[in-house]
Amino acid sequence: MRPVIRDFFSGFGNLFRKPRTAVYPKEKIIIPDNSRGIPRLKLDLDSLEIICNGCGDCARICPEHCIELKKTVEDGKEILEEFCIDLGKCIFCGNCIEFCTLSAIEMTYRHQLADTNRDAFRYEKLDLIKQADYQIREFWTK
């Protein structure tokens, strides 16, 4: 009998509380902290160059094999030439971020990716650098 009385009053109290669900297009909520969105390539803030040297650890660890990269050597230094993520395959597991020795990749909070064209999910190097706009934890954004 005691749980019934407890549930009765908690249900009654809930009537006066704000509902936790959001009516999606009308209402906007703040995305939870540490949620995983599209990865972005980090830039070195002093030289404004890509930190990634194209070692390929992320591509090897990726369970879905959605990362493709190519590197070149210039003046005895390894430089990333091409970097591509197919977000149609990506499961946002975050392994690439975890295993990156230079911490050159980071996850943003952007996650709304609906599109009619499948090629739109292939993000090239420049697209991934542009994702820096979405690194702030913000409202639902497109």
């Binding site: 549930d7 009765f8 249900g11 509902p19 936790r20 669900t21 009516v23």
Partner: protein
């Protein structure tokens, strides 16, 4: 003639508006007690949603079987003998409490038959179990009503309300009221307002009864709960009697919605019944002993007072 016509319109309006509000409240209360939103479409917090839902059902299928037609007819005809106020009653009987109960039993029977009719033998077998189950729940209700009639010495609902001008019957018969209230809660649990109960519904109800027939079933479900609450108010909570300066008709509505809210909240607070044995234990271990004790106490009181002149 015009007054009768007016009365019919008034009763239809009262029942219709309360059906609309009831279906809205059931959804919203079920949702808000779980931090959800409930109806949102249909403007103004989803207030127009019950009407939209009605059209949705009608759009699917408009055919009615004879059982469903009778169910719809009786769910409105049942209100002909229930007095909402001293003058707002269509048919007057001396023993209208008995007629009201008879109509209620007919509605219950039609509801059960409608939910049990199927071409599958297994479902047809379950029908007898369901009927037995629901009608044993009427035993404690009858017992508590009998002790109430012993006190009031009348079978007319209007006179029972008149009897309570000073003290409400709930003061004389608290155990009877508890039994009645438990019956209302159990009925909601059995027939399921906010969610369908698998025991008391047809197994193929979602496939075959999604049209007008399903709508009649829902209406009958609400009407049976409304009927029990109204009967409870008339028998135990003084019906349309004024309380100090508050008007009786407003009080009637207030009492109705307070009990309706409490029953719905209790429906949310208790787990769903998916076994006959729980229902049997509720009936035979709680309701019937309580009502029998109430009946015995009442009889003992009258024996001691009238025969031995002790009280």
């Amino acid at each position: 003639m015009i007054t009768i016509f007016l009365k019919v319109i008034y009763i239809f309006l009262i029942v219709g508006i309360n059906l609309f509000i009831g279906s809205y409240v059931v959804n919203k209360l079920a949702a808000r007690s779980e931090h959800r939103r409930g109806f949102t479409a249909g403007r103004a917090g989803g207030f127009g949603y019950p009407v939209l839902k009605m059209f949705k059902y009608l759009e699917k299928d408009t055919k009615l079987t004879i059982w469903e037609f009778l169910l719809l007819f009786f769910s409105f005809f049942i209100w002909a003998i229930i007095p909402f106020s001293p003058w707002l009653v269509l048919i007057r009987f001396d023993a209208d409490l008995v007629i009201a109960l008879l109509f209620y039993i007919i509605l219950l029977f039609l509801f059960l038959v409608n939910s049990s009719r199927s071409s599958y033998g297994m479902i047809f077998q379950n029908a007898s179990k369901k009927i037995l189950m629901t009608f044993t729940f009427l035993i404690p209700v009858f017992l508590s009503m009998a002790s109430l009639i012993l006190i009031n010495r009348t079978l007319t609902l209007k006179e029972i309300v008149g009897f309570q001008y000073q003290y409400w019957n709930i003061i004389y018969q608290p155990l009877g009221f508890i039994v009645f209230f438990t019956y209302a809660v159990v009925q909601v649990k059995m027939f399921g307002l906010s969610k369908t109960n698998i025991i008391f519904y047809n197994e193929n109800i979602e496939k075959e009864g999604s049209g007008f027939g399903w709508l009649t079933l829902r209406v009958a479900n609400y009407i049976m709960l409304f009927f029990i609450i109204v009967l409870m108010i008339i028998l135990y909570l003084a019906g349309w009697q004024n309380l100090y300066f508050i008007d009786g008709n407003i009080l009637f509505g207030l009492k109705f919605y307070i009990i309706f809210f409490i029953i719905l909240l209790l429906d949310r607070a208790t787990p769903a019944i998916s076994d006959y044995r729980y229902l049997v234990s509720i009936n035979w271990k709680f309701m019937i002993p309580l009502s029998a004790a109430n009946f015995l106490i009442t009889i003992l009181f009258f024996i001691l007072r009238n025969i031995y002149n002790l009280i």
